[in-house]
């Protein structure tokens, strides 16, 4: 097999890994929704067909691009890049080709009924590139905040900039510019030797290890600083618990590491609440207006969304933390005072379910308060928040289960949860706004009922499972 075929074969492996049966099923279900809408004469057939093709394609492309750059970066080690003849060049070529193919396919399918091929192509290409850049250097993730601020301050008139670019370069020129920019960016993503590449590889290895169940994030300088200012920091609470002489059962959760600590979840709520209240106050005092920032009520409600992301993936984070601390659990299991067997499973089930439900309630409270602001009923954020809250509740039961048979966490699992959340939100809004106006209390009650039944079933499963510690020991046997 030649090098290009081998690299493409690996990319296919990533796609197969990402394409779980659940994700495929979900994609098909989503594809049916626009067809049903067309049958009910709510959508034109051409648009429905285009959407039915585009939705699974976007879902699969998202899952693929959430995993592929990680895999490609892991292969591009300093040794491979520097010493294996033609390795980096071929990896770069294959990646750029896949990137172009994904963007073109998505743009073509959407353009069938919506037109705007070039704009959709640019957006799809930019998103895939942005994900890869974030994986290469996580600080790039924060750039979206700058873009959001710039678009809201009026200091950078994006529409004018876009219009100027289009008139200067033309549609084809923009495409070519994006391709050149992309090639440069991909060349930067795939480093070639040097100290920077070694540092990058070290960071990648730590991230991959963490994702695959290696040790949890360490007490780096940045983490220690954040721990110092974070009132819900793991270390702060551990110290207090030890000084106050908490019981072994109460101390157990600290043995699973910071990622399984309740403060990790509640911190997100706290930070979001502080940001929103700060923004409200700044708007009330006229500070934002002085800076030229327009902050409508809908935008204030939208500020809840980034804070919801850690909650969306909380079941995955908890499972991952449990798997990551499996070696430590062997020692915890031998400590006097730590419950055994069914009693241990019950303690862990209560602990983790309590974390998630409390965080969910806090978010609900915050969301409820924001709904008191004017215009909540009609803006686009309200149904999104409602759908995400419902999704959180429905997936909370995932934290319960058979820890002894826990499989190593994977990026695909994380991506799947994110994609599932987006699909759920899309379906919720589509059903609610396009197909029929379902009364919100009815939807909420239905979700709460389904979530309760699901949690009860998972609870029973966890209590009947073998001793939870050490996690994952029975996964292979």
């Amino acid at each position: 097999m030649n090098a290009y075929r081998s690299l493409l074969w690996q990319a296919y492996g990533v796609l197969r890994g990402a394409a779980s049966w659940v994700l495929l099923g979900l994609s098909v279900l989503c594809a049916i929704v626009p067809l049903v809408a067309a049958l009910m004469a709510k959508l034109p057939w051409q648009m429905a067909t285009s959407l039915a093709l585009a939705i699974p394609l976007v879902i699969m492309a998202s899952a693929f691009w959430a995993s592929y750059p990680q895999r490609a970066l892991a292969q591009n080690t300093p040794l491979n890049a520097q010493l294996v003849p033609g390795f980096r060049r071929r990896l770069l070529n294959v990646t750029v080709a896949l990137w172009l193919a994904t963007a073109t396919l998505i743009a073509a399918v959407f353009a069938l009924s919506f037109g705007h091929f070039i704009q959709i192509w640019l957006i799809a290409a930019a998103i895939a590139l942005y994900i890869a850049l974030c994986l290469r250097s996580p600080w790039i993730f924060t750039l979206y905040l700058l873009a959001w601020l710039a678009s809201n301050t009026g200091l950078t008139p994006w529409p004018l900039l876009e219009a100027a670019l289009r008139s200067a370069l033309g549609g084809a020129g923009l495409l070519v510019a994006m391709i050149v920019l992309g090639y440069v960016a991909w060349s930067w993503i795939f480093a070639r030797g040097g100290d920077g590449h070694w540092r990058l590889q070290g960071r990648q290895a730590r991230m991959t290890r963490a994702f695959r169940g290696g040790p949890q994030p360490q007490a780096t300088k940045a983490n220690r600083w954040l721990g110092g200012v974070n009132p819900l920091s793991y270390h702060r609470f551990l110290q207090t618990a030890l000084v106050q002489g908490h019981k072994p059962v109460e101390l157990l959760s600290y043995g699973l590491g910071p990622n399984a600590f309740w403060g990790t979840f509640y911190s997100q709520v706290l930070i979001t609440a502080v940001l929103i209240l700060g923004a409200l106050l700044a708007r009330h005092l006229g500070l934002l207006q002085m800076l030229g920032i327009n902050l409508p009520d809908a935008m204030l409600r939208a500020m809840l969304l980034p804070g919801l992301i850690p909650l969306l993936t909380a079941p995955w984070t908890l499972w991952s933390a449990i798997y990551q601390s499996r070696k430590e659990q062997a020692l915890l299991q031998l400590l006097p005072g730590v419950p055994q067997g069914r009693a241990l499973n019950r303690v862990l089930a209560c602990l983790h379910l309590r974390y998630l439900l409390r965080a969910w309630l806090l978010f609900g409270l915050l969301g409820g308060l924001l709904m008191l602001l004017p215009g909540a009923k009609d803006d686009w954020v309200t149904p999104v928040l409602g759908a995400l809250a419902a999704f959180n509740l429905l997936t909370a039961g995932l934290v319960l289960g058979d820890y002894a048979r826990l499989k190593p966490p994977s990026l695909a699992g994380y991506a799947w949860l994110m994609v599932a959340a987006f699909v759920f939100v899309g379906a919720w809004i589509f059903v609610d706004r396009v197909l029929f106006a379902v009364p919100l209390p009815l939807l909420c009650t239905l979700c709460a009922l389904v979530a309760a039944v699901w949690m009860y079933l998972r609870w029973r499963m966890m209590l009947a499972a073998p001793n939870a510690f050490p996690a994952g020991r029975m996964a292979a046997s």
Partner: protein
């Protein structure tokens, strides 16, 4: 006879189709220091984990202090110290936090010993464990396991990451601070010189069973390599052989445990030569 601290009967463990432990029986009385030997992948860590109830056995039972390992009471668990093979544990804590955390669980905690070991082994108490070297992490794991003065100490390759000075310090601590207190110690290692210094008994794990367990001194005193023509080697009875006969051109050799009388008898056979063996020779041939 001392009461049994570890009692294993018919232990079986499979990983998929691969059988790691095959009906293993083993007993260790209180106060013994036993070195567990076996080649890589022989199942030493699995045996220790099953013995401690950290893995479910497919068949058989393990008892520690008379209690089933999978449902040990608090009192029994307070009497056990365990150093797993991997020392990179609780890396998000500092050594001080780690020991404070563990102290909260044990009814007995030897602070004086902990402080002494920290000073002697020069471990920074406030540095993140993740930033310690492999050897320092291993020393910390040993301190943690010794801190509550366990009556049963199980060590899974405890000196693998230690330099010669670290190993000497550890053995010194083990002899002075643990073995002299009549603690039962079971440890696995590939560093045979360490084992010769401290083990009373050795046990060889091969093909899922303990194939040989005996006093180390007695084993070294009575085991000889007997070499000679193949037909003459047949004089060594199968019960005396502890290794598979090695054949060479025109002859062969075999390791055999021989009583003084039998040794004297074999020395009278002119075609046979008898040599003493090292523990390394024993390890190589017994585990082959």
């Amino acid at each position: 006879m001392n009461p049994l601290v570890i009692e294993i009967a018919g232990l079986e463990k499979h990983f998929g189709k691969q059988a790691v432990l095959k009906g293993l029986d083993w007993q260790i009385p209180a106060g013994k220091v036993v070195g567990l030997l076996g080649r890589n992948g022989a199942g030493k860590s699995t045996l220790m984990e099953c013995m401690l109830g950290l893995r479910e056995a497919d068949a058989g039972a393990s008892h520690l202090f008379g209690e089933p390992a999978h449902s040990l009471g608090d009192a029994s668990r307070a009497r056990i110290g365990y150093v797993p093979q991997q020392a990179d544990l609780f890396e998000w804590l500092t050594p001080r936090q780690l020991l404070d955390y563990f102290r909260a669980f044990y009814p007995r905690w030897n602070t004086e010993k902990v402080e002494g070991l920290f000073s002697r082994w020069q471990i920074d108490r406030d540095k993140a464990i993740s930033t310690l070297s492999g050897g320092q992490k291993q020393r910390l794991a040993i301190i943690r396991a010794l801190a509550h003065d366990p009556e049963l100490l199980i060590l899974d390759e405890p000196v693998a990451s230690l330099d010669p000075v670290g190993r000497r310090d550890f053995l010194h601590e083990l002899i002075d601070g643990v073995i002299e207190r009549n603690t039962t110690v079971l440890f696995s290692t590939h560093i045979l010189s360490d084992l010769e210094r401290i083990a009373m008994e050795v046990a060889f794990l091969k093909e899922g069973r303990i194939t040989l367990q005996t006093s180390l001194d007695e084993l070294l005193e009575t085991t000889r390599r007997v070499s000679g023509p193949s037909e003459v080697l047949l004089q060594i009875a199968p019960a005396e052989r502890i290794s598979v006969p090695q054949t060479m051109q025109g002859g062969g050799s075999v390791l055999a445990r021989l009583s003084p009388e039998r040794l004297a008898q074999i020395r009278t056979v002119p075609a046979l030569s008898v040599e003493p063996v090292s523990l390394e020779d024993l390890f190589v041939e017994v585990t082959q």
